[in-house]
């Protein structure tokens, strides 16, 4: 399908595809097995300028937007959803600075991120604040020109590997979620530590750790926006990052379909390739159609974000929900088409299936996405 990409966007997609197919695909199984962080790949992405596609030119980026970021995330995920997350997680950690940061903060942090010199991470989730993100307990107490952070963030993507963290913490407990604020914390700040690396079902090349703050002193200049804006910063960030999760899901689904399609054309049973059986053909047709529909939705919502549409929570949730459900279904079907071979770890289909699952869970479970969608639908009827 032709998405009428600009010449630059087509170039970005083609380069990301080339890197994914030539450099990531051959090592995806290795990083899945060892759970190492794929620094050599991050270096290639950095040297190719891919980290800067969504960062304005005045901060060293290429001046594109969310769609550009989605194109890269999708292509990388088509080879490995875990390695792609080093890239996409950096995007998530960067968005609060990009959208709400001061000029000084942008000048200080965005050029290094655009160059891929430093990765970023976003710290919202806590042990008792998952879907109920408003229940976070990490605090930031102002003392002079500093904030003192205390608390533990959980399951933070890129934690330990990234150098720039955007952290949501409570500055005024009495105000509830309106008392939350967003901060930039650099790796190496005294009082900031990382927990052990989590062992995961999928996206195993991605590093997931706790980020622990113990009387961690952060300069007041690192406050993003104003005190009390933390929850709004977080929600706006997630509204623009969800098309990215959708793109990751589309990539994973496409990667799974690529395997199944190749396999079906070479696997001979009853004297013919199994792709000649209508039962298999219909599965492939459904998979291809669903992925295309998910891609079309993800790109449309990314374009909304790039056009500056203010209220896009519903559409953003729809893209994430639909694409991740499609990825899971397609990956399960890819394994099914490949039968016993699909179940074996010698083939990448089962990895796509393990990687797909997280897209239904993180950045808001799909149940939460449905809540958001329905709440917005109902709100819209009331306005009429």
């Amino acid at each position: 399908m032709d998405y009428m990409l600009t010449d630059t966007q087509a170039m970005i997609r083609d380069l990301a595809r080339k890197i994914a197919q030539e450099k990531i695909k051959p090592v995806a199984a290795h990083y899945d097995e060892t759970e190492e962080f794929a620094w050599p790949i991050m270096k290639i992405l950095a040297e190719s300028d891919l980290f800067g596609v969504y960062i304005p030119e005045q901060y060293g980026g290429l001046g594109g937007g969310i769609l550009d970021m989605c194109l890269v995330t999708e292509e990388l995920s088509r080879a490995c959803g875990g390695i792609a997350l080093g890239y996409a997680g950096t995007g998530l950690g960067t968005l609060p600075i990009l959208q709400h940061g001061s000029e000084e903060q942008k000048k200080k942090y965005l050029p290094d991120i655009a160059k891929g010199k430093r990765l970023a991470a976003f710290c919202l989730t806590e042990a008792e604040a998952g879907s109920d993100a408003g229940a976070i307990k990490t605090t930031a107490r102002k003392e002079g020109d500093k904030y003192i952070l205390n608390g533990t963030k959980q399951w933070i993507t890129n934690a330990g590997e990234a150098e720039i963290y955007t952290v949501i913490a409570i500055t005024d407990k009495a105000k509830g979620i309106r008392g939350a604020s967003a901060f930039i914390v650099e790796k190496g700040t005294k009082g900031m530590e990382f927990g052990k690396k989590e062992k995961k079902m999928g996206i195993r090349a991605s590093a997931t750790r706790e980020v622990i703050f113990t009387d961690c002193e952060v300069p007041a200049a690192n406050l993003i926006s104003r005190e009390g804006m933390g929850f709004i910063v977080a929600m706006k960030t997630l509204d623009t990052s969800r098309p990215g999760v959708a793109a990751q899901a589309v990539g994973i689904g496409q990667g799974a379909l690529d395997c199944a399609l190749d396999y079906s054309r070479t696997r001979v049973q009853f004297g013919v390739p199994i792709s000649s059986f209508q039962a298999v053909q219909h599965m492939l047709a459904d998979m291809g159609t669903q992925i295309e529909a998910a891609r079309a939705l993800a790109y449309s919502v990314a374009r909304m974000a790039d056009a500056g549409v203010k209220s896009m929570s519903k559409e953003s949730a729809m893209a994430k929900l639909f694409a991740s459900d499609v990825a899971m279904k397609v990956a399960v079907d890819a394994v099914q088409i490949m039968g016993g071979y699909g179940y074996m770890r010698d083939y990448p289909a089962e990895k796509f299936m393990r990687d797909a699952k997280i897209t239904q869970i993180y950045e808001g479970t799909n149940q939460i996405q449905r809540n958001v969608i329905a709440a917005n639908m109902i709100k819209e009827t009331l306005k009429k």
Binding site: D7, T8, M11, I12, L15, K18, I19, E22, K23, I44, E47, S48, D49, L50, G52, V53, L62
Partner: protein
């Protein structure tokens, strides 16, 4: 350090087909790429520039569409590009090609190093690089796998041989042809690709070169391709079966009967 890289645009070898009637390469619809060995020369040139400063000029002789290969080279870090293109160059053999490229290099500003891939993946002659150095009357080292030391006067390089490698010291300017062991070419960068899109390619025809017309193209080519053919496929061998001693005995008998 001023570096010149000579490259060639070749058909992508993964999908080469031969016309069964004429026995020539079918070039229609076949994607053209930078000769894979030249990619190592480009990378080495860009690395030298990054280490020592200076400029990389990429040069090719070919049809107008060879401009794409030059743009790709700019995307990989080359600074300037020159396309030498003219109907008069058609039919050039390796002698005429290297003569033409040498004339173009003389027209460029002073250089310290010329880098070429060890050979092109279509012709496989490995003669154009050495030919250029002969026409320019500068030293050459072929099959270079490492540039160990280099300054503005000399270079020490490792030259791959069948048994190992030679360590060669040479004054500059010098021409090196490189093997794939020398480096791992980088991926293109978006900024490089954008620079490439906007880049102006210098285009020279025969008239722009200080070249002797009789030495160009088919007329200037002392060699002729008389025939290109696909070799007869080897006929299948004969399978001998049985226990190992029986097989050995029969094989010995067969060998006795042959003039080995």
């Amino acid at each position: 350090m001023n570096i010149i890289v000579c490259i060639k645009q070749v058909p992508n070898t993964t999908d080469v087909r031969i016309d069964p009637v004429t026995n020539t390469l079918i070039r229609d619809g076949v994607e053209s790429v930078i000769n894979p060995f030249d990619a190592y020369a480009i990378e080495e040139a860009v690395r030298l520039k990054e280490r020592l400063g200076g400029k990389v000029t990429v040069l090719t002789m070919g049809p107008p569409q060879a401009e794409n290969a030059l743009k790709e080279a700019i995307g990989l870090g080359c600074d300037e590009a020159v396309l030498v293109s003219d109907r008069k160059f058609a039919g050039s053999d390796t002698w005429a090609t290297s003569y033409t490229l040498a004339c173009a290099i003389k027209k460029l500003e002073d250089f310290d190093v010329i880098l070429c891939g060890k050979q092109a993946s279509d012709g496989d002659t490995a003669q154009v690089g050495p030919g250029i150095s002969a026409h320019l009357d500068i030293p050459q080292v072929t099959y270079v796998k490492k540039i160990s030391e280099i300054n503005d006067k000399l270079a020490i390089v490792e030259r791959m041989t069948e048994e190992g490698y030679d360590v060669v010291e040479t004054p500059l300017p010098c021409l090196f042809t490189v093997v794939k062991e020398i480096n791992t070419p980088r991926m293109p960068s978006l900024k490089g690709m954008m620079r490439a899109k906007a880049a102006k390619i210098t285009k020279w025809t025969a008239a722009d070169l200080d070249a002797e017309p009789s030495l160009l193209g088919l007329d200037g080519s002392p060699t002729r391709v008389v025939k290109i053919f696909t070799p007869e496929p080897r006929k299948g061998g004969e399978m001998i079966s049985g226990s190992s001693s029986e097989v050995a005995k029969e094989l010995a008998e067969l060998l006795k009967g042959e003039v080995v």
